[in-house]
Symmetry: C2
Subunit: 350 residues, 2 copies
């Protein structure tokens, strides 16, 4: 069955969305519409709590059903975005029912036999699936879309050092709402702002990413995802990344300061990097030194392109060369929903 499923392409696939009420679920509906995805039928699935509620899709009112093991009869593609626990529990049932699962959680990303796909980087990997394809971590996707053209068209990257500036959206819709509530609390002069989710004041503050930290290495899970997922997506177990993940009080787009080192001294490095970015799918250059106009979260919000700017040669290397740039990308869209829909598009008959 696995091989047959891998080969299968659809004219108008019957879609299910598991986790339809979350931030990513919401955007999946929008993006299917925006991109004119040929949805044969659409089933919205969520927890029992949300079952019975309705959502509009292309002018039709759809009733949300409870996500169960029996949800996937007559489904061709199941887009999962209900968290890792739900994916682990229900994705196998979806595969057994014959659906192709595109999973936005981290549950299966590093599992052997599960392709981890950024369509701008490794679209062919998608076709080696055994029923499940994993959507990478949001920060990984944004970085990979921008680093891949440099790594393949300019010079092989020997080492990548990244610092992230991550939005609240990565922690879900309720986290975004808490950050907004903190603004209202602060304006109201409340002594202590609402902090049920992050356990700290987030407005006027920033903090190391809230993922658990490995007690031995000091790396948090978000950082480790970026390191190991990039190796898998680039199909290069020796690709080297050092990363610091930080949450900043921004609502829905992530930024990353990226430093790429090369073993060779690349002549005209900056010009070559600009040319590679200009040609790269999913990348838009925003880089006006005179106007001090560069990528910003608000410019990237509700966009699918990754914005790159501050493209410049790093003056600090002793040998070889290095490139610096700054990117911004919508974490909910390209970092999650858009990437998942792009993977689904790979399986459309054209």
């Amino acid at each position: 069955m696995a091989v047959a499923a891998a080969a299968k392409k659809f004219r108008a696939p019957r879609i299910a969305i598991a986790g339809a009420t979350g931030a990513v679920g919401h955007d999946l509906l929008r993006i299917l519409t925006e991109r004119g995805f040929p949805v044969g039928s659409l089933k919205l699935l969520a927890s029992a709590r949300s079952a019975g509620k309705t959502l509009d899709f292309r002018g039709e009112t759809l009733t949300i059903e409870e996500l169960t093991e029996d949800s996937f009869k007559d489904v061709d593609i199941a887009l999962f975005s209900a968290g890792g626990a739900q994916s682990k529990r229900f994705a196998p049932a979806a595969v057994d029912a014959g659906a192709l699962v595109i999973d936005n959680s981290s549950a299966f990303r590093m599992t052997d036999g599960v392709p981890l796909v950024v369509p701008e980087v490794n679209p062919d990997a998608a076709f080696e699936h055994k029923g499940i394809i994993a959507n990478p971590n949001c920060s990984t996707i944004l970085m990979n879309v921008a680093v891949w053209p440099i790594h393949t068209k300019v010079s092989p990257v020997s080492r990548c050092v990244v610092s992230t500036y991550q939005a609240a959206s990565g922690a879900g819709a309720a986290a975004m709402a808490e950050l907004e509530q903190q603004a209202r609390d602060w304006v109201d002069g409340k002594e202590k702002v609402t902090q049920d989710i992050f356990g700290r004041q987030y407005i006027w503050n920033l903090f190391s990413h809230n993922a658990p930290v490995d007690l031995e290495t000091g790396y948090n899970e978000e950082e480790t995802k970026m390191v190991v997922e990039t190796k898998k997506i680039f199909n290069d177990p020796d690709f080297r990344t050092a990363v610091t993940c930080v949450r900043v009080p921004v609502l829905r787009a992530h930024c990353e300061a990226v430093n790429l080192a090369f073993d060779e001294d690349v002549p005209d490095l900056e010009a070559k990097a600009r040319a590679a970015f200009a040609d790269a799918p999913g990348v838009r250059i925003v880089d006006d030194r005179e106007a001090n106009a560069f990528p910003e979260p608000l410019l990237a919000s509700n966009q699918d392109d990754i914005l790159v700017g501050r493209i410049r040669k790093d003056p600090s290397v002793r040998s070889g060369s290095a490139l610096e740039f700054f990117l911004a990308g919508d974490q909910v869209r390209k970092g999650a929903a858009t990437n998942a829909v792009q993977i689904a598009e790979l399986f459309l008959e054209r």
Copy 2:
């Protein structure tokens, strides 16, 4: 005169503050009080606009005078924090009048014969002044206080890669007020928030540092300051820094993600770094992996210590070794006012 001035120490110096009404001026008054600095007399200077206003200092009400070339008679130490143009215009007059100038602006930082001093790093340099001592850029100070103990006690740093997360305060009190106003505007549902200073929405956003960008290199002036000032402070023209400076919607403390590479493979790197930080003046370790508790702007605000955490070995290097950490420091205090007062303290008779 220069040599005599350099040697001179004071029991209770007569102080002038040029720029008494700014964010740093305000903190200079607080810090002189908090540290029990033996102020012989205090003269508050500002623009004509502020002359005649009053400020309290140790229970006394002082009237602000207009900053002119004649302001510095009977002044031993003049603390300048009125911007580069005012420093260029009035610091020479202060020196001619016999005052030792400690200048918080960038006007003289890279001038030959003007020491650039971080007391935890190069206190002795202060005594080589010719009337003016420069206070480094805020981001430089925070980085230098933390990097110096590693560079000198652990292993010589071959390359330093930094990404900053800078607060509004670096752009002055009015910039902080605009950011706060934007929160009120957003809560009020205004379509466009107040953006007279930064020319963009800052709340829920971040942007490349607003300093002018060199059209050739792509480095902005804030980044270049960190690169060149560090060489001067460390007295090492070959110290190599690559840096990306970013403004985040935080009010008054800066953060920096720092990556230090070493030529040698340092055994027990993390433990050695922790020991060096623990011994370093002006540094406090905040690094609880289990509780996910690390440096944050709000924890560093109104503190003089630089908080360091996320101390860990960088897994990405091919040869040698590298250390990563994250710091937070109050930009107005240690990044400006406290550092200036600490320089003044070097000139106290004990």
